[in-house]
């Protein structure tokens, strides 16, 4: 790498990688939504979600590598690192849910899990739409407000879903499986809020 490359503003590369990560997050969330909506008929979608997870790892690796190789960054190095990590977390949780449906030998979906996957997909769509706005540090509040609203909705759904598992007479195996899966879905939705908070911080610092 030449000196001019090291000192030149390398923003375009970072932003392009973030946008790629956003599209990957949305793709993974769409696949999980589709998988849960049709479960167990399209179990093969778990393999496609795993591909998204690998793709996410590759993008994060490129971002970190880029960070290590450049002196000048368009936004704080710490913010780049945090945003890359938060985006990666979403795909990791999505992949865990898809994988655990098989590992736990889940026979059929829960309506609440299908609703949570829908919320997650909507939230990831907001992220994918907001990330290109980072290039000019444009106002992305309408996206972050919607992500926060969806996260609140996800919290409410998770609590109701977990409470319903503790009604009288339910198979303890069902409780074990679904409590874990609901919590992972909630973690994924929570991670979308982390991404929204980091993006908001970046815009506030750089406007």
């Amino acid at each position: 790498m030449g000196l001019s490359q090291l000192l030149a503003p390398p923003g375009r590369e970072y932003f392009a990688l973030f946008e790629e990560a956003g599209a990957n997050v949305l793709r993974a969330a769409e696949l999980l939504d589709q998988m849960l909506a049709s479960y167990p008929d399209q179990g093969e979608l778990a393999a496609e979600i795993l591909d998204c997870e690998h793709n996410g790892d590759r993008i994060t690796h490129h971002l970190i590598q880029h960070l290590n190789n450049t002196f000048v960054t368009p936004i704080d190095r710490e913010d780049i690192h945090r945003l890359a990590g938060a985006l990666d977390n979403i795909v990791d949780y999505i992949e865990e849910v898809a994988d655990y449906l098989g590992l736990y030998r889940v026979e059929a979906p829960m309506a609440q899990a299908q609703q949570m996957a829908k919320i997650l997909r909507e939230s990831c769509a907001e992220i994918a739409a907001a990330l290109p706005l980072l290039r000019g540090f444009q106002d992305l509040r309408r996206h972050t407000i919607e992500i926060n609203r969806l996260e609140n909705e996800g919290d409410r759904l998770t609590r109701e879903a977990i409470a319903a598992l503790f009604n009288d007479g339910i198979d303890p195996m069902v409780v074990i499986r679904w409590k874990d899966l609901y919590e992972r879905l909630e973690d994924a939705i929570d991670s979308t809020e982390d991404v929204a908070n980091i993006m908001e911080g970046i815009v506030i610092k750089n406007r």
Partner: protein, 248 residues
């Protein structure tokens, strides 16, 4: 064996004798709610009607409906013929009047258990033929034209349950009877298994529909020729039109 009887001395003796025969006996003085009874998964229930109070008939009705394979014996004090007949018609297997000897009661319970054993039923149950479908309980399988549908155990149990019930079965009822637990809110297991069952039925018998969906309620076994132009006619029944029903 679950014993619901306020007489602790009697339940103690009964419990010891059942356990000597290798049975696990749970004795309680107050009624166990039907969902809790489902969870205990007992083979037999002995109940003193006095422990149930004036609503004992509705309790017995619910228990017999939820747990058709449960051997239910009422062991209680003086009763009228009408009470006994009514209980037996609800599905109670035997009625023993107190005072009685524990050995006598155990012998009655043994006899009811023998009558309720699945292999006992298999002898009684001839293959059920509905439209092109033959349901053979002794083989735990269904056939069309002599060819097996290769149903899984759960798929067969759901088919048999629906085929034997001449009414709409709520999803919760199907789940309780097939899975043996209360259905968690939002659980789509029954829908998934009915969907697979329908796929296999359609592949084997494309000219017929067998299971109607009653939206927001559950499913009903209602064989009908798959003719779109004409109103569907249930096999062996008068014309049935389900305005709120969908069939595959």
């Amino acid at each position: 064996v679950v014993v619901i009887d306020p007489d602790r001395g009697f339940t103690h003796v009964l419990g010891e004798r059942f356990e000597a025969q290798g049975w696990l006996c749970t004795a309680v003085a107050k009624p166990v709610s039907p969902p809790a009874l489902v969870r205990l998964r007992p083979s037999a229930l002995i109940v003193d009607a006095s422990a149930l109070g004036p609503c004992h008939e509705s309790y017995l009705d619910e228990v017999c409906a939820r747990l058709p394979m449960l051997a239910v014996t009422v062991c209680t004090g003086p009763s009228s013929v009408a009470e006994r007949v009514s209980a037996l018609r609800l599905g109670v297997d035997a009625w023993v009047s107190k005072p009685c000897h524990p050995d006598e009661l155990i012998a009655v319970v043994d006899a009811t258990l023998l009558g309720n054993r699945p292999d006992g039923l298999a002898v009684v149950d001839a293959p059920a033929v509905r439209a092109e479908l033959t349901i053979r309980a002794e083989l735990h399988q269904a056939f069309v034209g002599g060819k097996s549908l290769e149903l899984t155990s759960r798929e067969f149990e759901i088919l048999q349950l629906l085929a034997h019930a001449d009414r709409v079965l709520r999803r919760e009822e199907v789940y309780e009877r097939v899975w043996g637990y209360a259905m968690a809110d939002g659980d789509r297991s029954v829908d998934v298994f009915v969907r697979r069952l329908r796929q296999k039925l359609k592949a084997a018998s494309p000219g017929w529909t067998y299971i109607d969906t009653h939206f927001g309620v559950g499913y009903r076994f209602a064989p009908a020729a798959r003719v779109a132009e004409r109103p569907r006619v249930a096999a062996g029944h008068s014309q049935v039109v389900h305005t709120s029903a969908r069939s595959l």
